[in-house]
Symmetry: C2
Subunit: 137 residues, 2 copies
DNA sequence: ATAAAGCCTACATATTTTATAGGGTTTATG
DNA sequence: CATAAACCCTATAAAATATGTAGGCTTTAT
């Protein structure tokens, strides 16, 4: 399951996407809208910013804003940033690969094979669906 | 990511599947084969047994054994039993549904829509792949 | 100068996962 | 029938992770 961090990030991005005509949006407003702790959300937005997914303006009258087109923000990127691997097993993760310690031989592991399939189907969706798709509805 | 519990369960079932000619298999042997704590695995096997996925024989000379054909044990069932929901969000889980508390309206939530797709593609694989498929390789 | 707002780091709390402990019960066997 | 092997059951402990808080720093409009 996605962590709250990731869910909050997705909601925050959605909110920013919906308020693109405004120059900046306050953390406060997003937090209030979704009933999220201000400080917790602050950390999340900061992380998104550091990852180059959004921009900010400091000081009075400041706030956050999208620096990319929503269609250029794939959901996979947001999830990986905040939750880490998308795959169901470390041994099939593309971005966070690690061998499974209880597995003797990856090459002959049937679980590995199935989880590669799951990963591929999942990524087929999450790499192609973007913030723009979420904004549509 | 799958929990260790689930991974251990899958490995244990695989082990049992590979030793079907023997009447029973000891917890000890499975634990040793995969470097799992005996007692931890004991709890897992017990849970699998209670769920009707395997049988056991008590006392000296006892042990565990499969009571179903491997082809009749879908991976989704094992995962759900030990890990709970397969879906990425509670609000799209078929077996463990709960509303997301940060979401105002499920019907118009774009995240929800995407995650339903992910769930469906994932289940398409995990409901159809069974222990038999894992045993093949 | 002041107040508003994001930046940053560290800490605190809660929850979940993983593992252990220890006795109970059943059963084959000599 | 005594014994040892093996699963059964419940409770608790330890570790890891996720969630949330605190508090001061820096930047900026007015």
């Amino acid at each position: 399951m996605l962590s709250k961090k990731t869910k909050y990030a997705l909601h925050a991005l959605t909110y920013l996407g919906k308020h693109r005509e405004e120059k900046t949006v306050l953390i406060h407003d997003i937090a209030e809208e979704h009933g999220i702790s201000h400080k917790f959300l602050e950390n999340i937005l900061l992380e998104l910013k550091k990852a180059g997914m959004l921009g900010s303006k400091k000081g009075k009258g400041g706030g956050y804003y999208l620096i990319k087109e929503p269609k250029d923000i794939p959901l996979s990127k947001v999830i990986r940033l905040l939750d880490g691997p998308i795959a169901m097993l470390p041994c099939v993760s593309l971005n966070y690969y690690e061998p499974c310690d209880e597995c003797k031989d990856e090459a002959t592991c049937g679980i590995n094979k199935v989880m590669i399939q799951v990963r591929d189907e999942t990524l087929k969706i999450l790499e192609n669906k973007t913030l723009a798709d979420i904004l549509k509805t």
